[in-house]
């Protein structure tokens, strides 16, 4: 791949082909956003629509989140995490495999706007990108940053940058693999006294507005009625009470255990920039350790909490 323009061209061509071949009635991808650091999910139904597709480092959602119960055949222009989430939707019977066509794209990772803003304090009026850098422009100045230095937290430990094994068709070159999350920080935290752990996790969510953008952006949160919206009984108060907020994040993480593909949509959607994935990572580590399960890696392997082995270990049970 020589340039971003080529990649965009390839994406548009692949999308048109998917529509023309009848493999899809609609193609999910992204188009350019209207403001710095934004991109808009784009649903193309005609060849003309396909002309707006671009590759972006500013995708804040996971396109697989639009799949559950979506009527008709869909082609998904998918990053690795999106492909994995789409697999999850299929495994969990939220979307039929035969209606899904995955156009995989090798991904160098998404850019974290907060990371950019931390390095560039001048007001940024325009952001453009090419394959490996992002270019910033302000009042009378320009600057470039390598994407690799301002990646989103989840993208730094991505285990599926090139979704070759999941995609029906691949575009772009392979993105060099990265070392997986070693959970070193969580292991260090685990050795601390309970009060410190509690202070850390409560501190993470102290700014939470309970807007539930994380839930809405999450490809796993497709329940028709979320437990926080249940009214009889109403499990959670609706105020900004710290324990209610904490409970929401704990239970949401639990519901995502063994299913989360670390796509980071929750953190990217969070307007308060809360490190929501810390809760998910807690369980991700445990799921890998106990059941050697990697979510979204196989079209037919069941998520660990929907199955069991008679010899599962649990020595803490008396």
């Amino acid at each position: 791949m020589t340039s971003l323009a080529d990649l965009n061209q390839n994406i548009q061509t692949a999308a048109r082909r998917a529509l023309a071949d009848g493999r899809a009635e609609v193609v999910f991808g992204y188009r350019q956003g209207t403001a710095p650091f934004t991109a808009a999910p784009h649903f193309a139904r005609t060849p003309e629509d396909c002309g707006q597709f671009v590759w972006t480092s500013f995708a804040r959602v996971n396109l697989a989140a639009y799949l559950p119960k979506y009527p008709g055949k869909v082609a998904l222009i998918a990053r690795g995490c999106e492909a994995r989430s789409a697999v999850g939707q299929v495994v969990e019977s939220q979307f039929p495999r035969e209606n899904l066509y995955v156009i995989g794209v090798g991904c160098q990772g998404m850019v974290d706007p907060e990371a950019v803003l931390a390095r560039e304090k001048r007001p940024i009026r325009e952001v453009t990108e090419d394959l490996t850098t992002i270019n910033l422009a302000g009042d009378g100045w320009t600057a470039s940053l390598p994407k690799a230095e301002v990646l989103r937290r989840n993208c730094k430990t991505c285990v599926c940058r090139t979704p070759k094994d999941l995609a029906d068709e691949m575009l772009g070159g392979d993105a060099p693999p990265l070392p997986a999350d070693d959970f070193a920080d969580l292991k260090a935290l685990a050795a601390k006294p309970p009060q410190e752990k509690m202070a850390y996790f409560k501190g993470l969510v102290k700014d939470c507005l309970r807007c539930y953008a994380c839930r809405q952006a999450c490809p796993l949160c497709y329940c028709p009625v979320c437990f926080v919206d249940e009214t009889r009984p109403q499990w959670l108060g609706k105020s900004n009470d710290a324990m209610d907020t904490f409970t929401f994040h704990l239970l949401r993480a639990f519901h995502c255990a063994g299913r989360c593909t670390s796509c980071g949509a929750c953190e990217a959607a969070c307007p308060m920039d809360i490190k929501l994935r810390e809760f998910n990572r807690l369980l991700e580590e445990e799921v890998q350790k106990d059941w050697q399960f990697v979510p979204g890696a196989s079209w037919d392997q069941k998520p660990p909490l929907t199955t069991y082995r008679p010899d599962d270990e649990a020595d803490f049970i008396k």
Binding site: G33, T34, A35, P36, F37, T38, A39, A40, P41, H42, F43, R60, V61, A65, Y66, A118, P123, I124, R125, E126, D207, L209, C211, Y212, A213, R215, Q216, A217, D229, T231, G237, K238, S239, N240, D241, A265, A268, A269, P271
Partner: protein, 341 residues
């Protein structure tokens, strides 16, 4: 009204803080600027705008309104009593951006409508002297000028200030503003208005021109309501409600009771029209069953219903927060263009 200058921002803020009013001003915490009670030396000046809109100073995310006790031995068991109203202190709010001040004025016309007055809002809002800080370097997502505002806008403010070297230029806009500045020491009379005009023009020239909302606002409600573009916009909407939580004019709330064995509290919490729960009837019927209706409601409310009910005042003040934070880039400017087609 009067105009003043001060040579030194800090001494002005110290005088304001010493006026007997609580000083609320933008300050930085955990890398984010927010409106909070601060000491004068901690007030931030180098911010585009506060991260959250300033509405929470007058309409907090959670506000206890009433309480009751269950002790039958004491008078008034199971009878709700008002809470908090007597504890509201007069404040001076420094550093409101003109867009946000205008947003608060939109909220004010809802909280004090043609039939009812919300005492919790009124006490706080009218008890505050609101000093705006003009935007001399508007941000990349700002578009106040597109919806009838200005970086030097005066709506909803008692005093408009602008940075003048190390000091401030100040212009009073209401008797309350006049009264407040008169009582402060260290102010020099005059020397602000002339300079202000030039700065205003310079700042406005860096912002987009007006959106053409005339057609959408003149058309009958149902004509705009039935436009075909709503579904397309809603398709990518996640109904996350971030826009509503950050919007300076979104004022919807939910009322909830919480109780224990001793008594209970009635409180209100910010709510969002993006949630299906917001409108669902007890019977299970939902007047806005899908995200298309909910997305349409939000934009119709901002760009059509509020202007209808508030004599043309736009419900969007162009602060740009929703544009910045929307995870799927639903841009209210683009919606406004669609509505006017």
């Amino acid at each position: 009204m009067a105009e003043y200058t001060v040579k030194d921002k800090l001494s002005f803020l110290k005088a304001a803080a010493g006026s007997g009013r609580r000083l609320l001003a933008p300050s930085s915490k955990d890398g984010r600027v927010r409106l909070a009670e601060v000491t004068p030396d901690r007030v931030a000046f180098d911010y585009l705008n506060t991260h959250l809109s300033p509405k929470d100073a007058f309409f907090p995310q959670t506000e206890k309104m009433l309480a009751f006790h269950k002790d039958a031995a004491k008078p008034g068991a199971f009878v709700y009593q008002p809470l908090g109203l007597d504890k509201i202190q007069p404040t001076v709010v420094f550093g409101l951006r003109p867009c946000d001040a205008r947003g608060l004025a939109v909220c004010d016309r809802v909280f004090q409508n043609d039939r009812f007055t919300d005492p919790y809002w009124k006490t706080k809002y009218e008890g505050a002297v609101k000093i705006g800080l003009a935007c001399q370097a508007p941000g990349p997502n700002c578009f106040c000028t597109a919806v009838g505002g200005s970086p030097f806008g005066e709506d909803g403010l008692d005093v408009l200030a602008f940075t003048k070297g190390e000091g401030l230029g100040l212009k009073t806009l209401t008797p309350a503003g006049d009264e407040f500045l008169k009582g402060l020491s260290g102010l020099e009379s005059g020397g602000a208005a002339g300079e202000m005009d030039g700065l205003k023009k310079a700042a406005e020239s860096r912002l987009p021109g007006p959106l053409d909302l005339a057609k959408a606002q003149a058309a009958p409600v149902m004509e705009i309501y039935n436009q075909p573009h709503w579904k397309e916009t809603a398709d990518r909407c996640l109904n996350c409600g971030t826009c509503t939580f950050f919007c300076p004019t979104c004022h919807c709330f939910d009322i909830q009771d919480e109780e224990n064995e001793r008594g209970g509290v009635r409180m209100r919490n910010w709510d969002t029209c993006m949630s299906w729960l917001y409108t669902i009837h007890g019977s299970g019927h939902n007047p806005r069953p899908t995200k298309t209706e909910r997305v349409r409601q939000r934009f119709m409310h901002k760009l059509k219903y509020i202007p209808l009910k508030q004599g043309g005042a736009c419900g969007c003040v162009g602060c740009g927060r929703c544009v910045q934070h929307c995870p799927v880039n639903i841009d209210i400017r683009a919606v406004a263009v669609d509505m006017s087609k």
